[in-house]
């Protein structure tokens, strides 16, 4: 018996019985589509852009598209009960985690952060309303909020068939102390660092309008989340000849966008000063420093081996490295590196480098502007496959 007296069930009941669907179950897909329609109403989403993005993700067309890309669906089934521990900094993250669980055919208990976000309330409320039309799915969604009730975490960990633990690393280490069943699966989403690579040759002679578009995409990858998402680039690699001038032009264009859209607050300024002075003291490979107002700090590093896990910054603090060949990326990336956004390259350029033997970083390589687009491949996991089991029928 699980004591859940102190647990606030925002959505769902206290029935913990095991049930599972096949991935992309029709009812689940319909439910998500209805949820998408409901949340797309501006009266409901109250113009929260992150809710709109989430609603857009749930729409039928996108879900069917994702389904098409998945294989072996007829012999797959959800693991059973998933326990999600979601992060306190991105308000809509819990909802994506829930979708991971639903689409792979599982029942879900999602722990949302104790910190109050209006987005969480709005989405949970929408789920409750839409669920009324989907009686049979009632047991599949439970959203809970509790502060530090270790007993509940411990007990759910023991009964669940899989856990999704979203970072920071402290949370992951804390939750991992609670054992799961021998057969259960643990997925952790640790603190990560991300890169961007720009082919400066492709920026030479570029139209002003086009450069603006690229800079705006870069803005969406970074400042939209204070450069604090794991997939926001922290290190910018520049490849190409004579790129000094073009680099300056890029940052200036970017700076204009930041200044017109972003309100820099005091703690950000203080953070960046502190970070810069600390970098001067601790890093012996700083080649140059340049700032554009206080919005953008660029610390250029020498080509010495750098540890990406030490280059996590925020609020418009970028490290820059010049490279001459794509292969050099393997020197700089390690398991901590999550996303590489790119401009001025082709997809095929990257297939070559991921084959390099000592290339052990980077889980996502996406065009500039798509850093934050969540997908069913995340942190190196093929989500549907890892959250379901395949039944070998011969």
């Amino acid at each position: 018996m699980i004591n859940s007296d102190n647990i606030n069930f925002i959505v769902g009941n206290k029935n913990f019985k095991k049930e599972a669907h096949e991935p992309f179950n029709d009812k689940i897909c319909n439910f998500l589509d209805q949820l998408s329609i409901y949340l797309s109403n501006p009266k409901v989403s109250q113009d929260y852009s992150d809710i709109k993005t989430f609603a857009f993700f749930c729409r039928k067309k996108n879900i069917l598209n994702l389904k098409k890309k998945s294989s072996n669906l007829e012999s797959r089934k959800g693991l059973g009960l998933l326990f999600h521990i979601t992060p306190s900094n991105i308000p809509t993250n819990f909802a994506y985690s829930l979708i991971f669980g639903l689409l792979s055919g599982n029942k879900n208990i999602v722990k949302v952060p104790s910190k109050i976000f209006p987005q969480i309330d709005i989405i949970c409320n929408a789920i409750k309303i839409v669920l009324k039309k989907f009686n049979s799915l009632e047991n599949f969604i439970k959203i809970v909020r509790y502060s530090e009730d270790e007993d509940f975490t411990k007990k759910i960990s023991l009964v669940c068939d899989g856990r999704l633990i979203w970072g920071g690393n402290d949370t992951i280490n804390k939750i991992r102390k609670y054992p799961i069943k021998e057969i259960s699966r643990d997925l952790s989403f640790a603190d990560r660092n991300s890169f961007c690579i720009i082919n400066s040759d492709r920026l030479i002679g570029i139209e002003k309008k086009k450069l603006n578009e690229i800079a705006l995409k870069f803005y969406n990858d970074t400042f939209l989340v204070d450069q604090n998402a794991c997939s926001s680039p922290h290190v910018i690699f520049w490849m190409g000849k004579k790129n000094l001038k073009i680099r300056k032009k890029f940052w200036k264009t970017f700076n204009k966008i930041v200044d017109s859209k972003y309100e820099l607050d005091h703690s950000a300024i203080f953070y960046k000063q502190d970070r810069l002075f600390s970098d001067f003291i601790t890093k012996n490979n700083i080649k140059n420093f340049k700032n554009y107002g206080n919005s953008i700090y660029c610390v250029e590093l020498n080509q010495k081996k750098i540890d990406p896990s030490k280059l996590i910054s925020r609020w418009g603090y970028f490290y820059e490295v010049e490279i001459t060949r794509l292969e050099e990326l393997s020197k700089f990336s390690n398991v901590f590196t999550q996303t590489l956004t790119y401009f001025g390259f082709e997809k095929k350029d990257f297939y070559k480098i991921i084959k390099i033997k000592n290339f052990d970083g980077i889980d996502r390589i996406v065009p500039i502007g798509q850093a934050l687009d969540i997908s069913l491949n995340w942190d190196g996991y093929d989500i549907i496959n890892i959250l379901s089991k395949v039944i070998d029928i011969r």
């Binding site: 992060p87 306190s88 900094n89 991105i90 993250n93 979203w166 970072g167 920071g168 690393n169 402290d170 949370t171 603190d191 990560r192 939209l224 989340v225 204070d226 450069q227 604090n228 998402a229 794991c230 926001s232 820099l264 607050d265 005091h266 703690s267 950000a268 300024i269 203080f270 000063q273 502190d274 810069l276 002075f277 600390s278 970098d279 001067f280 003291i281 700083i286 420093f289 107002g293 206080n294 996590i312 925020r314």
Partner: protein
């Protein structure tokens, strides 16, 4: 070598004299620390600071948080006689300030001159609104104890108002007042402690008027009062109302620049700079704000730090210049007011750094 000049024109200087003395001295100090503190040198090199710089506005302002993470000192470690540690907010590392005897003596000298300008040369009986630091279980020499020790040299018959349970010891208080209450005496403590014991849970004194001869010197601890929406003005008004105390001096000081504190002028309620200190207000691009009544980051400059590179610091406090207020007792010194700590913003993103 560095020198320390004992000046008598602490607040009575002319603008021109201040520039001659202060600006020249601090530029020399920057160069001294550059030569003697390798971490400081790295910062200056990184910022491409020119050692022949003559403008004090170009001197880099170290974020105060830097003293938490790095050991910054400009004299050999065997010359260090004490390390001041800030109390620090829970969870964060304390600042570490390395003092040699030269630096420490100069701090005491300047502090004593500043306090003299308020209470005069004579030592006064002193009531400290805190526990006896001897009784406090301490692992380090923290800011609160440093302040108590620093200020207690101006008092005699020092009486600690609080017992071990942080409650007012009324027996002690009444004894102190019956003995010294008829003449001038000093009350010293952290702002929030004075508020807590004097105003929130009012002192049950036999004669409330017996505090009227007290001169209050208080500083720090505004954070708690801000959360209760108690301004400096209300604080002063209520002390006057309840105890008829009218001589109340608020001071602003950082442990990173102990000694060269900024004391509030009782006439115009602004903090003023002594000849040993200066300030700049900086905007979001860290450019200097020259206009009055415009809020920005407070940068504090002091001539006192010699054993550590703390002469120019960027604080997290928000302040504004108030040189528009004409005040005879402030003379030509730069004046400012403080609006508390800059707010920690809610950060978006997924990394819990």
């Amino acid at each position: 070598m560095i020198f320390f000049e004992k000046r008598s024109d602490l607040f009575s200087y002319s603008k021109k004299n201040k520039i001659n003395f202060f600006d020249n001295s601090i530029i020399k100090l920057v160069n001294f620390h550059y030569k003697n503190c390798s971490n400081y040198k790295k910062i200056l090199l990184g910022l491409k600071y020119k050692l022949n710089n003559k403008k004090i506005s170009n001197i880099p302002a170290l974020p105060v948080s830097l003293f938490k993470r790095f050991n910054l000192h400009s004299v050999k470690i065997d010359k260090i006689i004490k390390i001041l540690k800030s109390s620090g907010t829970s969870g964060s590392d304390p600042s570490k300030i390395f003092l040699d005897s030269f630096n420490s003596k100069n701090q005491t000298w300047v502090l004593s001159k500043i306090v003299e300008s308020i209470i005069g040369k004579k030592r006064l009986p002193m009531l400290i609104v805190d526990q006896d630091p001897k009784g406090i279980n301490r692992s380090s020499y923290n800011a609160r104890i440093a302040a108590i020790n620093g200020f207690s040299i101006f008092g005699k018959s020092i009486t600690y108002l609080l017992n071990k349970n942080n409650k007012v010891d009324f027996k002690k208080l009444n004894y102190f007042l019956s003995k010294f209450g008829n003449e001038k005496f000093l009350i010293f403590g952290f702002t929030n402690l004075i508020y807590e014991h004097f105003l929130e849970s009012k002192l049950k004194i036999l004669h409330t008027k017996s505090l009227k001869n007290g001169i209050i010197i208080h500083g720090g601890g505004w954070k708690k009062l801000e959360s209760k929406a108690i301004s400096n003005k209300i604080f002063k008004k209520n002390l006057k109302l309840n105890y008829n105390i009218s001589k109340i001096y608020n001071y602003y000081g950082l442990i990173e620049q102990t000694g060269s504190i900024f004391v509030e002028c009782p006439k115009c309620s602004c903090f003023k700079c002594s000849i040993y200190s200066d300030i700049f207000i900086r905007d979001k691009n860290l450019n200097i704000i020259k206009k009055n009544k415009q809020k920005g980051f407070l940068q504090v400059l002091s001539l006192l730090p010699t054993s550590y590179p703390g002469n120019s610091l960027l604080t997290e406090d928000i302040a504004e210049l108030r040189n528009d207020i004409k005040c005879k007792s402030c003379g030509e010194s730069k004046k400012f007011t403080i609006h508390g700590r800059s707010k920690n913003s809610e950060i978006r993103g997924c990394a819990n750094i």
